[in-house]
């Protein structure tokens, strides 16, 4: 489904993107993500397709607000039956509650349900309306971090099974990783859209790179360019990167590498990398410096490295257990040329 919407207030937006399967619209706080959903639902004045010009009650959308907005005076069953009519509405509501895994909670009031259960009631209620498009506003924000992935995974699985296009807006790059399709909204327009793999590996602009979680972003200049490999110079010295068709010697660029894609080792071990046949220079893309801080980050360790440049490195536990890096220690990092992503300069900030 193709979406084209034009908003003036409360933010000026010109959005054009595809909704395919479970689609995530990623954007920073205040980018107008919620406004776009309200506009699609007909609750905010806007021009666009689909549903253009229809009042909200005539639009076939299932809208899940951030707080789920269950009717507090109605039971779970009555909430789901709300959009239904006719004598079959309660059996149908029962079926939908069972579909979202809430059989047996029919008589519970919303305040007696957990955040995840409330979300599923809201989902069942939205499905009862027989929508052509599901809209989810920050669906992970009210969920318990411990069960968040599982709960969202089930929601996404269900949406895929029914074959209902869904548009979820969020600032959480983690949710985007689970999506079928991702679009990035900043500065009033879609900056880039594509598969999550594409966006996470090859963000088109600096703003997109930041949103999809690039922590290590630097400024540099193309020194020389050949068919496969080029050399970029910046504060980190000269680095080998994959050539891009638009590379010209002397061109200003930004480049970045994801925190989880940097290799690190103790300095005395020398080579932080397995042998890479693509490299002409065996000493290339290596930086030496000092580990400043090691912080736990869920199952990962966040290592802060200070060398010619500062880097943030995410290590899985198994690697950290082997290395046992400590703050203050000297270390070598290796930036795999294939994982360094280069962006043209001057594309947003």
């Amino acid at each position: 489904m193709r979406i084209r919407y034009l908003l003036e207030r409360p933010v000026s937006l010109r959005v054009e993107c595809t909704v395919a399967g479970f689609t995530v619209l990623l954007g920073p706080t205040g980018a107008g993500k919620t406004s776009l959903l309200l506009a699609l639902a007909g609750l905010l004045r806007a021009e666009g397709e689909p549903f253009g010009g229809l009042p909200p009650q005539k639009r076939a959308v299932g809208f899940l607000p951030q707080d789920y907005s269950l009717f507090p005076h109605l039971t779970a069953l009555a909430n789901v039956a709300f959009p239904l009519a006719g004598p079959d509405r309660f059996p149908e509501a029962r079926r939908l509650l069972a579909l979202v895994g809430l059989a047996g909670r029919e008589d519970s009031l919303p305040r007696e349900l957990s955040g995840g259960e409330q979300q599923r009631v809201a989902l069942a209620r939205a499905l009862a309306r027989r929508p052509e498009l599901l809209l989810l506003d920050e669906p992970t924000s009210a969920l318990d971090p411990a069960t968040r992935d599982q709960v969202m995974g089930e929601v996404i699985e269900l949406v895929r099974r029914i074959g209902l296009p869904a548009l979820a807006v969020t600032h959480d790059p983690h949710l985007a990783e689970m999506a079928d399709h991702v679009a990035v909204l900043t500065d009033g327009a879609i900056q880039q859209e594509g598969s999550p793999e594409e966006l996470f590996a090859r963000p088109a602009t600096l703003a997109v790179a930041r949103l999809v979680g690039f922590r290590n972003l630097f400024r540099g200049r193309v020194v020389s360019t050949e068919e496969a490999w080029s050399v970029v110079e910046g504060a980190a010295g000269r680095l080998t990167v994959q050539s891009q068709p638009w590379f010209r010697a002397g061109l200003s660029v930004h480049f970045g590498i994801r925190a989880e894609e940097i290799a690190i080792d103790h300095e005395e071990n020398g080579d932080a990398s397995p042998a890479d046949p693509a490299r002409a220079d065996p000493q290339g893309n290596r930086l030496t410096g000092r580990v400043v801080r090691v912080t736990k980050l869920g199952l990962y360790l966040l290592v802060r490295f200070e060398g010619p440049v500062e880097l943030e490195i995410l290590l899985p536990r198994n690697i950290h257990e082997r290395l046992e890096l400590a703050a203050g220690e000297r270390a070598t990092v290796w930036l795999n040329p294939r994982f360094i992503h280069v962006l043209p300069d001057g594309n947003g900030t």
Binding site: L38, A41, G42, L43, P55, P56, Q57, K58, R59, V61, G62, F63, P65, D67, S69, F71, P72, H73, F82, P83, R125, A126, A128, R129
Partner: protein, 254 residues
């Protein structure tokens, strides 16, 4: 707070409560139960009060509800002015309000004159009585209902719209049920005000005699002893509705 301070604090509150209750506690003591009996016309006064207050309440709810909803939901230029105008009858002393009504709806009034020619007499008549009660009670309901509507989350109404219910169905199935507590208390307050309205009624509707006017007449003609039975009747007629509304909304809130 220390125990002694807490005790003193609560004792002051209890004194306040007692002070408020004293007149009511005295009523059974002052009533001469051996000679308890209604003066002529007391029962018909109760009938007049009951019927017209109910009618006034219906009129107030029908016209006041949309007004209160509009004040709660819509933002428009000059809204504060309308808010002040709604309160005007409430801020005007009842006697002054009665005089204003007499000059407006009376036989020589700009509105009352023409109406009288088509047969609608708005002085000392049933409709006049109703009119006086509406002016006396409506602002109380509108203020209460407005607060009740404001407390209904806007996004619940929006979600109802996205679920395919139009504005009317949304109002009936979401807004009204969620505002019921405040609406019930607004109705109860308006009921008590309408039933007890004396100042305005005295000027524009001395007849038909409702309980407040009849109390005044009994006091003037007979004396205090003739007042007590009618006072009991006033409580008997006036209290059930607020009590029932209060009980229903409390039970549903849990």
């Amino acid at each position: 707070m220390t125990r002694a301070a807490t005790f003193a604090f609560l004792a002051i509150g209890a004194l306040g409560l007692l002070f408020l209750l004293v007149p009511f506690l005295m009523l059974p003591l002052h009533t001469s139960w051996s000679r308890f009996g209604f003066a002529p016309g007391d029962l018909s006064a109760a009938e007049v009060s009951l019927l017209y207050s109910l009618a006034a309440l219906v009129v107030i709810a029908v016209f006041g509800t949309p007004l209160a909803y509009a004040l709660a939901r819509y933002r428009f230029r000059g809204k504060f002015l309308i808010e002040a105008l709604v309160l005007l009858p409430l801020l005007t002393p009842p006697l002054a309000m009665g005089l204003l009504l007499a000059s407006t709806y009376g036989p020589y009034g700009l509105i009352g004159g023409p109406l009288e020619r088509i047969g609608l007499v708005l002085t000392n008549s049933g409709p006049a009585f109703l009119l006086a009660q509406i002016y006396g009670a409506a602002p109380y309901f509108i203020v209460g209902a407005r607060a009740a509507f404001e407390a209904v989350p806007r996004n619940l109404e929006q979600v109802s719209l996205t679920l395919g219910k139009g504005p009317a169905a949304t109002f009936l199935r979401v807004t009204l049920p969620l505002a019921r507590l405040g609406l019930a208390s607004g109705l109860a307050t308006a009921w008590v005000r309408a039933l007890g309205e004396f100042g305005i009624v005295l000027i524009v509707a001395y007849y038909p005699r409702g309980i407040p006017v009849k109390l005044w007449i009994n006091l003037q003609n007979v004396g205090l002893q003739a007042v007590y039975p009618l006072l009991w009747l006033l409580f008997l007629v006036g209290l059930p509705l607020p009590l029932v509304l209060g009980l229903i909304s409390r039970r549903e809130r849990r």
